[in-house]
């Protein structure tokens, strides 16, 4: 039984670690703030999830398994919230994403500039 659990959990732990590293590599390889956020997303979704599941399989008490599951659940609620907060703060303080040409859907392309202006006016950047 222990052997079975270990053979299940170690691949998960290693895969989780691999995804965390890939997220880290992405932070270096991708060109700007907004694209890098996507790379960081790998670390705190699949990377974290695989590691936590791997750890849960090694746990000796049920209570520990439940706690790890709760950690995972909280992570899945909180990480998008803070990613969103980060991106929105960056955007409203004037950091513009690097975009590929003609990358909007038709309806938004014309509005994008207006939208950008609105967003920036709404939360004025601090005097600098």
């Amino acid at each position: 039984m222990t052997l079975l659990l270990h053979t299940l959990s170690w691949p998960l732990l290693l895969a989780g670690a691999a995804f965390c590293i890939i997220g880290g590599i992405g932070l270096f390889r991708l060109p700007d703030f907004y694209t890098r956020i996507h790379a960081a997303g790998i670390t705190d979704t699949l990377g974290a999830a695989l590691i936590l599941i791997g750890l849960a399989l090694q746990a000796e008490e049920l209570l520990v398994v439940i706690k790890l599951a709760l950690v995972l659940a909280f992570l899945f609620f909180s990480s998008p919230a803070c990613t969103h907060a980060l991106a929105r703060a960056a955007f409203s303080h004037g950091l513009r994403p690097l975009l590929q040409d003609q990358c909007f859907d038709e309806s938004f392309a014309s509005d994008y500039v207006n939208w950008v202006n609105e967003e920036t006016e709404e939360e004025p950047t601090s005097a600098s």
Binding site: H38, T45, I66, S79, P97, D105
Partner: protein, 159 residues
């Protein structure tokens, strides 16, 4: 009252799980502090169904497997792109109309977008979600609206 007791039970179960204590004195203290928190929230006037959407639990349980599959799929996709030589990305900003009626539904939708790597919600306002996508395809997949519809269905049965 329903929300108050629901919240009190949730808090107490959380307390039990985190502490793992079973001594009578400690459990009583735990129950007491759960009730105190509920009373404080009531006193502050912030005890509302939105803060504790118990009625959504079943619907969320039905939505979760699909979301997890999407998360895994988009993770693999982004990971593959990061590792390929000269990352094949085409960053986009796109705007999506959230079909959900309630603020909570829209939050779940925007959160689901952010949770899947490759798409990120920049702003939720006036029923629209502005999304930054790592690739054009990721943005278009969102425009297709499967996630939108699923979150709508999740929200649908609430009064």
């Amino acid at each position: 009252m329903k929300h108050a007791s629901g919240l009190a039970i949730t808090l107490f179960v959380a307390w039990l799980l985190w502490s793992g204590h079973t001594a009578i004195l400690l459990v009583t203290l735990g129950a007491g502090s759960s009730l105190l928190v509920v009373w404080l929230l009531h006193h502050l006037g912030i005890l509302d169904p939105q803060g504790q959407p118990l009625h959504l639990l079943l619907d969320i349980a039905r939505y979760l497997p699909w979301l997890l599959r999407e998360v895994v799929r988009s993770n693999l996709d982004v990971a593959r792109r990061i590792l390929s030589r000269d990352p094949p990305i085409s960053p986009c900003v796109t705007r999506i109309k959230a079909m959900q009626k309630t603020p909570l539904g829209q939050v779940i939708f925007a959160n689901s977008i952010t949770l899947t790597p490759g798409t990120l919600s920049l702003r939720v306002r006036d029923g629209y979600v502005v999304v930054h996508a790592l690739t054009r395809e990721a943005g278009e997949a969102l425009q297709d609206g499967e996630m939108n519809r699923r979150v709508l269905r999740l929200e649908g049965e609430t009064p």
